[in-house]
Amino acid sequence: MILLKPGLYLITSFIALLVLAVPFFLVQASAPFWASAGIKVLTGTEWFPYEMLFGMLPAIIGSTWAILIALFIAIPCGVATAIVTTELVSSSLASATRMGMEVLAAIPSIVYGLIGLWLLLPLLQSSFDLLSGHSLLAAGLILALMILPLITLMSMDALRLVSNTQREAGMSLGLSWEALLFRVLLPQAWPAIRGGILLAMGRALGETMAVMLVVGSLDRMPEPIMNILQPAQTLTSRIGREIGEAAFGSIHFSALMACGLLLALIGLSISLFAHTRVVKA
């Protein structure tokens, strides 16, 4: 009984330690790389580990594109679905949609990879007349499918939390359904929807297996920079592809750890951003 309090303190400090340990060891593991290559690799465009060239920019651009494509598709679709299911249709259809989204969210990422590889790529290959279908577009589409449930479910929750008194007040003012939606419901629900979007962004950033199977792993800048139909590389797919073959202790290994550190930092800053906005609101 006496042990309860110190035990709980111990566990809590253990977790606090863990939060510090992850960045600490990533910094330690990638230190040889930063020391030898310097911060300028962030804008380098050539990644040839055997020539000691470790330009990170192609993968950073690739990750950015993939996330943007995914958000561009998933945000309208997810929010629209939430509006339709909570405001327009019967509650049984709404709960069916919720169920469907929960199933979609439960499908493991490697299975999405399988779908991407054997369903999406041939489809893209034939419809855009591509060499193989491996492309940033494919990665973006698969990511969109993966984050759609997250955005939809969070938006549904957000819209349902808008109180009925506000709906009724809006209606008694004679607002049309559209005006009610755009002036009352969406502004009220927006902070929570934004939270869902940021969460989805983090998820898309860190997704590895599905992206790695469809993106093509070509470490080169897209040419032109808007070209999303070419094979490319993301930070996660580069780690997934190369970590198994980089010898522990080599600069290559530590360069991949640096990619991980970069991912962690971006993820953490997205989360911090979301957190501070929520706290302010």
Partner: protein, 279 residues
């Protein structure tokens, strides 16, 4: 006394995890490295396990570089490599590791079926080099169908890539600016070539099939196909030994496994997978 129940549940759970720890003597060997050697070792490991249930052998890929690195770092007992060790690697292995060739194999230059049937059945090394350098971009320039060339490169640490790039581009780590896709394992590359209509790639001889055709290499005006016959007599220019690395003081079990690979039965598996037995 509910908390006693909770405690006992936790205790049971911990006991369950610990109970996975072995009660009987059992040896596990780890084989790691080239995906080219992996099918042989994987299948041999299964056959070996049936004869020696007390020895299990785990097999994982990663590439020749990983296999050699794993030996240097003592994380695997059996290294698999589909290329010769580099001088730096050899310096670290010289004293204590045996390098045993268990099979021979050719790196075939493969093209999609449509390209092959379209007329590109043989190329010179110089032509292939120009494709990978980005100087030839359409199959029409080589007498084939009017289609853009999809040149597939492999990840830098792959043994197949070392052997191919050394023979074709002159340097194991030469860049290939003409490549527009990077693949990892042999499986993956085979899949991409099979699905495409305009691809060229590098694959071990054992992975050819109807959709993935190996083309002949022009050597002094003679076209030499990547057949077992041409590999055996040494005419085919891009060939290599498949290596097993094992410590000189390895356990009897590891030794027995290597002996098994070299035995008639083991070499039968080599042949079945599609490589050339050493005798």
């Amino acid at each position: 006394m509910k908390h006693k129940n909770i405690l006992s549940i936790i205790a049971c759970a911990i006991a369950a995890v610990i109970s996975i720890t072995p009660i009987y003597a059992h040896e596990t060997l780890h084989a790691m490295g080239s995906t080219t050697v992996m099918p042989v070792v994987s299948e041999a490991a299964t056959a070996f396990y049936k004869a020696h249930p007390d020895i299990s052998i785990t097999v994982s890929g990663g590439g020749s570089g990983v296999g050699i690195a794993a030996m240097i770092q003592h994380t695997a007992q059996i290294g698999m490599a589909s290329r010769n060790t580099s001088p730096e690697e050899q310096a670290k292995l010289n004293e204590w590791v045996d390098n045993i060739v268990i099979a021979r194999d050719a790196v075939a230059v493969v093209v999609s079926k449509e390209v092959y049937l379209g007329g590109v059945t043989h190329l010179s090394l110089a032509q292939i080099a120009r494709i990978y350098r980005g100087q030839i971009t359409n199959w029409k320039q080589l007498g084939g169908p009017d289609a853009q060339i999809l040149a597939i490169d492999k990840e830098a640490s792959r043994g197949t890539r070392h052997v191919f790039a050394e023979a074709v581009l002159g340097n194991a780590h030469a860049r290939a600016p003409g490549a527009s896709l990077i693949s990892g394992s042999n499986n993956e590359e085979q899949a991409i070539v099979a699905r495409s209509h305009q691809a060229i790639g590098m694959l071990s001889n054992a992975w050819l099939n109807d959709r993935v055709r190996g083309i002949a290499i022009d050597m002094d005006g003679v076209a030499i196909s990547p057949t077992l016959e041409q590999i055996r007599n040494g005419h085919y220019p891009i060939s290599r030994g498949l290596h097993i690395l094992i410590a000189k003081d390895a356990s009897p079990a590891a030794r027995a496994f290597v002996q098994f690979l070299l035995s008639e039965k083991g070499q039968g598996i080599v042949k079945k997978v599609g490589y050339l037995p050493i005798h």
